[in-house]
């Protein structure tokens, strides 16, 4: 699957927006906004995205089941982003278990 996006707006420190180019497999557009939270509360990061899911509502449902739906992915990525900025690393529960399929360096879901 191929998506080519073009940055259409770049306001330093506050806003980034993009749109997919003609010929991309999925039509999508998105915007990320940064805004000061109340004093001592950091920065609010807001992410808005639209896309035409392949296969419509059914395709979206299947993607959600496989945890590959953009709402799920975006929510998790935003959390990872926050973790990285606040702690210097992305939290991961990687550790041993008695499940043969897992290694001690992989995330356990």
């Amino acid at each position: 699957m191929k998506i080519v996006s073009r940055l259409v707006e770049d306001v330093p420190g506050s806003r980034l927006a993009w749109e997919s180019e003609e010929g991309s497999d999925i039509d999508t557009a998105g915007v990320i906004e940064f805004e000061d939270a109340p004093p001592g509360r950091g920065t609010y990061v807001r992410f808005l995205m639209s896309y035409d899911p392949p296969g419509g509502a059914i395709g979206r449902g299947i993607a959600k089941l496989l945890q590959r739906e953009p709402t799920v992915q975006a929510r998790r990525d935003l959390r990872r982003f926050k973790q990285l900025l606040e702690t210097g690393e992305v939290s991961v529960n990687a550790s041993p278990s008695a499940r043969k399929s897992e290694t001690p360096t992989e995330a356990r879901i």
């Binding site: 998790r76 973790q83 606040e86 991961v92 550790s95």
Partner: protein, 407 residues
């Protein structure tokens, strides 16, 4: 390495699993020297906590020796450390407010989703306690990976026995915070439900904080005897009507503060508890809050309710009107362990808190399945079990003699 693993309700095994590895820069690996079985491990054993997966390594009361450190860990190899059960980043809004158990970053994004749906917000992470709280492996094993090792671990000076400091990991600060949440004032009478390890530490803490009288409620003679040794008055709920007794002992007013150290699996043949048990076994409910109901009804008007006991979800027949009409203040929460570490370590070293009187058994990892069974079935004889990976199979040390008569 060998590790104690959960495979389902009442199915705990010892398996050979891969050793943990350093994954993130702030990680450390410790070689476990002592790891206790907690009362809240029984909620996992009984299948009351959602989000466990077969094969998960148990254990959240851990200590040991640092054997490996990531580039950003502040620990040094060879140090003896106690590991708080709460995994906390130290940097987020909540950690900065010293609400460490509410850490916003420690629960990985893959697992925090589910807790956000259930609780309204993502829960902080803990060792060995289900995937709602991060799915991190526990320390009932030979080795443990400790994330954010520059924030949590408590470095212990040389020459201190494990049993003296091990409970800094959970039950000592939990009992301490329970008493703090009871906001004790001079002259207060404090009633404590449950004389397990947390209840016993809550009793000690309440006296240190100035309680005039502590009344302890349980039904196991040994546990009541331990409470009595700490200076508490005791009530065996099989012998007396607890609420009538509490009223009588307080001139009809009721205790100024009540502390529920029982949590979601109350014992006893009370009608509400029998009904809750039926519901729990038919997947219609997750809580058996009999002790909490009784505590709320027993508490004096305008009094304080402290809840260190673990609850998992939605409770039925909760005395909300009683709470409101009597004007009670409720404080609760998983323990902000790191907030209390230094203060409590100093108190142990100065001999102001007794941390070893409740330990009844030492055993090796290989005996863990037996120990879980005893911890569940023989609560009069087993008041606290510490697993020591250094002990051989069958090398079980019994440290206490027991009262079998009513205390």
């Amino acid at each position: 390495m060998r590790a104690v693993t959960w495979h389902g309700r009442h199915d705990v095994r010892v398996d050979t699993v891969p050793d943990p590895e350093i994954v993130n820069p702030r990680d450390a690996i410790i070689r476990i020297t002592s790891t206790a079985i907690c009362g809240s491990d029984l909620h996992l054993y009984d299948g009351y906590i959602p989000g466990m997966r077969a094969g998960d390594i148990l254990g959240h009361e851990n200590m040991g020796e640092v054997v490996e450190v990531g580039p950003k860990s502040t620990l040094k190899k060879g140090q003896k450390v106690v590991i708080p059960f709460t995994i906390s980043c130290g940097e987020c809004f909540f950690c900065q407010k010293q609400q460490f158990s509410a850490c916003d970053n420690s629960n990985p994004s893959e697992t925090s989703d589910a807790s956000e749906v259930l609780m309204g917000h993502a829960m902080g992470a803990a060792f060995g306690y289900a995937h709602l709280t991060g799915g991190y492996a526990g320390g009932q094993a030979e080795y443990l990976r400790v994330p954010y090792s520059d924030v949590g671990p408590i470095v212990i000076p040389d020459g201190i026995e494990d049993d003296q400091v091990l409970f800094l990991s959970d039950i000592l600060p939990t009992g301490w915070m329970a008493a703090e949440n009871a906001m004790i004032e001079p002259g207060d009478t404090v009633a404590v439900w449950g004389c397990g390890p947390v209840g016993l530490f809550a009793i000690q803490s309440a006296f240190i904080m100035g309680a005039h009288r502590v009344i302890a409620i349980d039904h196991y003679p040994t546990r009541l005897e331990l409470a009595k040794q700490l200076g508490a008055d005791i009530l065996d709920y099989n012998e007396v009507d607890v609420r009538a007794a509490l009223n009588e002992m307080t001139g009809g007013i009721g205790p100024d503060a009540v502390i529920d150290c029982v949590g979601m699996e109350s014992h006893g043949m009370a009608i509400d508890n029998v009904l809750d048990t039926v519901k729990a076994h038919t997947f219609l409910g997750t809580e058996r809050p009999h002790a909490l109901r009784q505590a709320i009804l027993a508490c004096r008007k305008g009094g304080r309710v402290s809840i260190p006991g673990v609850y998992g979800g939605f409770a039925d027949k909760f005395p909300l009107g009683q709470m409101m009409e009597k004007g009670l203040t409720v404080k609760s929460g998983q323990t902000h362990v790191q907030k209390y570490s230094k203060q409590l370590l100093d108190m142990i070293l100065e001999g102001k808190i007794n941390t070893t009187f409740l330990v009844s058994h030492h055993a090796g990892l290989e005996d863990a399945p037996d120990m879980y069974r005893h911890w569940h079935d023989d609560q009069n004889e087993y008041t606290k079990i510490v697993l020591k990976p250094g002990l051989e199979k069958g090398e079980v040390e019994t440290l206490r003699e027991f009262a079998h008569e009513p205390a």
